[in-house]
Symmetry: C2
Subunit: 388 residues, 2 copies
């Protein structure tokens, strides 16, 4: 017998699992369409040079790479936003209005596999291209909240931040790039002990130190913004904070503020974000369900200066939370001795919308009844005794 292993971190989806996945995709894409978003499809792999644009160092370490026979290095896509940006710069520079695009796609990362973390996983997401301002961000966050609601999740939060706050504070600190990177990682990890140890060793303003040290624990309503010392002294940070307040107000008008938590520790792992960032999670779960934000500089790198905002939702992770609920129709199983009559009956029933399986092996009625008894599934047996 040949080996039948699959590579580490991959998996097969059997019919019941596929049904859950398809239900999630159907509900999400129905919602996206109702907001005027239209689907695009990009190739499963791109030149490495494209993928490297705007994605962070962490993702670059997780790429599946291979050589193009025509020269160049290829990478399986690790996420969709960069590919959509490339697509828009290639095909949509003359398109009108803001472009509303969505996708359903598999993406690939060389991660250490564990629960809800595969090396190939599925995302649905939207990108709103060509619109800046609070109402564009409010639209995609509203869609994110409604997607989780429509899919059937009732206990979830969207953590919201504006990375201008963190970035402006760090800019003022004049840290070295490697220091910035370390601080960012520690804030994201909410590693308070290591963070304050690191900050102590830095030669920066004490007020600034205190402000950065507090970021990981600041989450709740808009009042957390008042708890950042130094904020009003830093122009960039206070401008970003004002934007966050306006966005929060907009999300109230959109009737989704109940699901929003302001969280200064959300920075997102990708380099392309420039403003609002957000993550969706469910309190009982140890992993995020969706993530997104504004990326106003990414498309420019492909020759198409254009503000943009969007999010992606992890279909596999949601599948794990939800399971299969929908009531299944019971299929017919038709057997008998005369295939002309069997096929006629089957066609009639299929035309009425029923699922009909034929006993293509020509078993007797008794055998079919036994098979149904032994099966975990239900069938409605029709046995046609009649000959012609």
């Amino acid at each position: 017998m040949k080996n039948r292993q699959i590579p580490k971190g991959l998996r097969d989806l059997l019919p019941d699992e596929v049904k859950v996945k398809r239900e999630i995709e159907k509900k999400a894409t129905k919602l996206f369409r109702s907001y005027g978003y239209e689907e695009v499809i990009t190739p499963a792999f791109e030149f490495l040079e494209i993928i490297e644009t705007g994605t962070g160092e962490k993702i670059r370490e997780e790429l599946f790479l291979f050589m193009d026979r025509e020269g160049g290095i290829l990478a399986l896509r690790p996420e969709m936003t960069v590919s959509i940006a490339r697509l828009a710069a290639t095909h949509l520079q003359n398109a009108d209005f803001p472009q509303r695009l969505f996708y359903v796609a598999n993406v690939f990362r060389y991660v250490q596999p564990h629960v809800a973390q595969y090396r190939e996983f599925w995302q649905v997401g939207v990108e709103l291209l060509g619109a800046s301002g609070v109402w564009a961000d409010a639209e995609v966050i509203t869609i994110a909240v409604k997607a989780l609601r429509d899919i059937g999740l009732d206990d979830f939060k969207i953590s919201l931040n504006q990375i201008g706050i963190f970035n402006s504070l760090l800019e003022e600190s004049r840290m070295r790039d490697d220091e910035k990177k370390l601080i960012r990682t520690l804030v994201e990890r909410k590693d308070l002990v290591e963070l304050s140890r690191c900050l102590e060793n830095l030669d920066i303003d004490d007020g600034l130190k205190e402000a950065i040290a507090r970021l990981p624990v600041l989450h709740g309503g808009l009042e957390v913004l008042d708890q950042i010392p130094y904020l009003e002294k830093n122009k960039g940070a206070s401008k970003a904070a004002d934007e966050l307040v306006k966005l929060h107000d907009a999300l109230k008008i959109c009737n989704v503020a109940d699901n929003i938590v302001v969280d200064m520790g959300v920075l997102r792992g990708l380099d392309y974000y420039t403003g609002v960032v957000f993550e969706g999670y469910s309190p009982g779960l140890g992993y995020g369900l969706l993530g997104g934000g504004r990326y106003d500089n990414l498309l420019e790198q492909f020759g198409f200066p254009c503000p943009a905002t969007g999010f992606a939702l992890g279909v596999d992770r949601l599948s794990l939370v939800l399971g299969h609920e929908e009531e299944e129709p019971v299929p017919y199983l038709i057997g008998g001795e005369n295939f002309r009559l069997i096929i006629k009956k089957a066609e009639e029933l299929r035309k009425q919308g029923y699922i009909v399986q034929l006993d293509v092996e020509g078993h007797s009625k008794e055998v079919l009844e036994e098979k149904i008894k032994a099966s975990k599934r239900k069938y409605r047996l029709i046995y046609i005794e009649e000959r012609e």
Copy 2:
């Protein structure tokens, strides 16, 4: 500006192209479901060792290969049947009845790109596992015909063969393996000149030579079987021919015989086929639309002896033939000065099933009217002048 090229042979699908693709998938999968088939999903890549099982030499030369960091060589899947066989051997050995599975998947081949020939392309297909006999083959061929009909193609044929005829004749000839391979290629290419030149040089029975030389031109009704000299002398070939006759009778009962042509030149490029093989094409087109057949020995190689039959349909190729037909609903575009009222109106309309785009940028009525005039698309504008 960064390069925004995509690798040779790949492409982006824009909204209108995606709509055609999704319509085809929807119609095909609805049909598959009505016959009791259920969807499975396998990983986009597998160990090379798995892919090599049963696929032909040609496909092996067309693989996208890369190294697994854990060791082993990986290949992007070039087709789905081998992966489904592996899945069934892994997960379904204790499942009941014949298993009816379908898939919608992207597959990858390093081919020379030209019209309707990409390096990543999409297939929908069915596999009927665990059933032998004429009615199993008749079922999948019937589904193939109905899929093309449902999708909207009216001028197409399915070329049908039983490769037992060709294989048995070649077996008797006692050619060397390289000679067999060459003959097979020439028969498939219908290269009559080269084929007869090759056969002349072989030291085999003259009747056999004549039989093999005629195969490429034998297509039409079942009467072509009478035109194969030597057929009745070869046990394997005449048994295979009998099966073809029975299958043809079954396809009449299934009301699809009008679309069937018997064609002795159809051998299929894959090594795993063992019996009935078929290909779908439309007379005006220079490329095939679907292909399939019986592969009774493939699952055994993964430790699960099990007869099987199925087919795959090329979604991209069908998209090229069909184009986008469905009438599009005209979306609403809502603008105004008061976002509370705009969002309320938008929500009302979405609840009624309409597609609603918001003017997130807050343009004036005049600007929106101009934008709509300049657009190639239609919009129904609602501008809410009211303040609160």
